[in-house]
Symmetry: C2
Subunit: 251 residues, 2 copies
Amino acid sequence: MISRTANGAMTSCPNCPLRDNEHFRDFDKEQLAFVMAFKSGELRLDAGATILVEGSHSAHLYTILEGSAFRYKMLEDGRRQILNFVMPGDLIGLQSVLMAEMQHSIEALTPLRLCVFERDRVDEVFRDHPRLAYDVTWIAAREERILDEHLLSVGRRSAFERAAYLIAFLHRRATRSGFIRRKPHLLPVTQQHLADTLGLSVVHTNKTLRKLITRKLIAWRNHGCEVLDADALSDIAGWPDDEDEMPRPFI
Amino acid sequence: MISRTANGAMTSCPNCPLRDNEHFRDFDKEQLAFVMAFKSGELRLDAGATILVEGSHSAHLYTILEGSAFRYKMLEDGRRQILNFVMPGDLIGLQSVLMAEMQHSIEALTPLRLCVFERDRVDEVFRDHPRLAYDVTWIAAREERILDEHLLSVGRRSAFERAAYLIAFLHRRATRSGFIRRKPHLLPVTQQHLADTLGLSVVHTNKTLRKLITRKLIAWRNHGCEVLDADALSDIAGWPDDEDEMPRPFI
DNA sequence: CGCAACTTTGACCAGATTCAAAGTAAGTGG
DNA sequence: CCACTTACTTTGAATCTGGTCAAAGTTGCG
């Protein structure tokens, strides 16, 4: 399950690709040493693979190194709600480490490369590395903030505003996290993914996206959405700019 | 602003009412001593008062001792989404302590009694009290989990299921936190509050609640909802029981 | 070439919103 | 104690947003 060499060598923390990204904060030497020791392996998964599943009790915590995934919940009859997307630098599995079990599943959207940490060693982080513990809490608070905004969106924005918000949101996160590097800016999602995030049917999602396409704010490509005017999308949604964002921590 | 005696004496931590509640975990002596020193005062607010406001940068962190409040966000044109309700034992203001500023507001639903902590001393928690730092993270993860479920509800449940879920949710939290003590179980909310949580209009919320009333699952009283059959409500929503819940931490 | 997955379109329907107005209860000041 | 106000709940009617169903069009892939 944990491949160290199969599809390429394991990345050592000092060479971590996240380290080159100005949006992430630097570690000091001691933290770096600890995280290197804390990291117990690397995991590669194909697109479509399930990383964590609702009801399970994972022994691991992961940081995304490369690729993207999404968190979702399902009702018994199959209705699915995508809760959030996961991109490089994001931490997953914290819920299953802190609480009894996962209450959502996570599926890879693209091929994925993950850092693996042992659940049993999380105590060490809190005991010996207050700054890293603080960062873990910060990361949890950030997820909360994102969910707040999604809830506002699904609860109170019209389908059109909601779609604009979602694409602007994904675009901002994808560019800042380094998930998307070069133009054109392509988000690798199907309309079904967007529908399940927006709380809409696929049919209506399609019709709503068509309006954004007509206005030349996005274009639809083979299995993906090209973002043409992210600022206009944020404007439609009334979503603030958040320019003063500080470099964010990751583990 | 911080009253120590005005409307009754300040509660000392060893006599904290939360301590009597089996659903909350106990502190050991050292933790208790620290929290006592960490607590810098007590705040009493009237129903309807705004505790924290979007865009502000609070110098405090609060734990609810008594009463209830709600977190919400608004769009520019006044549309409001209630994100979650806050009850005894809940921590508020963490976002503004960790990040630059609040991105939601909090308003008292009932008269409120809060423990006040200084933002500047949060570092001490992480530096010297790993167990408490862990608890703070746990509390953040719990909020995330609640938001996940709300998002599923607003995005994918029908109005009827959604209303049933929300009332079952509020009821479970209210009874476990000690916010509601004796029968009849009355939730002090208006239909406008429920509507803004459900992402529905007041009119449609009223019609939806009426169905629950007809089925004798709830009754509507003066400014409040009486819960008659919480289990039936959870069933309608397909919301799991969560019986094996462990005592939870608070600060 | 042909299947499988995804996107698009149209017709019709249901659930939810809006608007308007009336009913109810609690609270206030005379 | 009553009249008046305010806040909240209820109802009906008209309208609209978004859902469902069905079918066809695309694209990628083996």
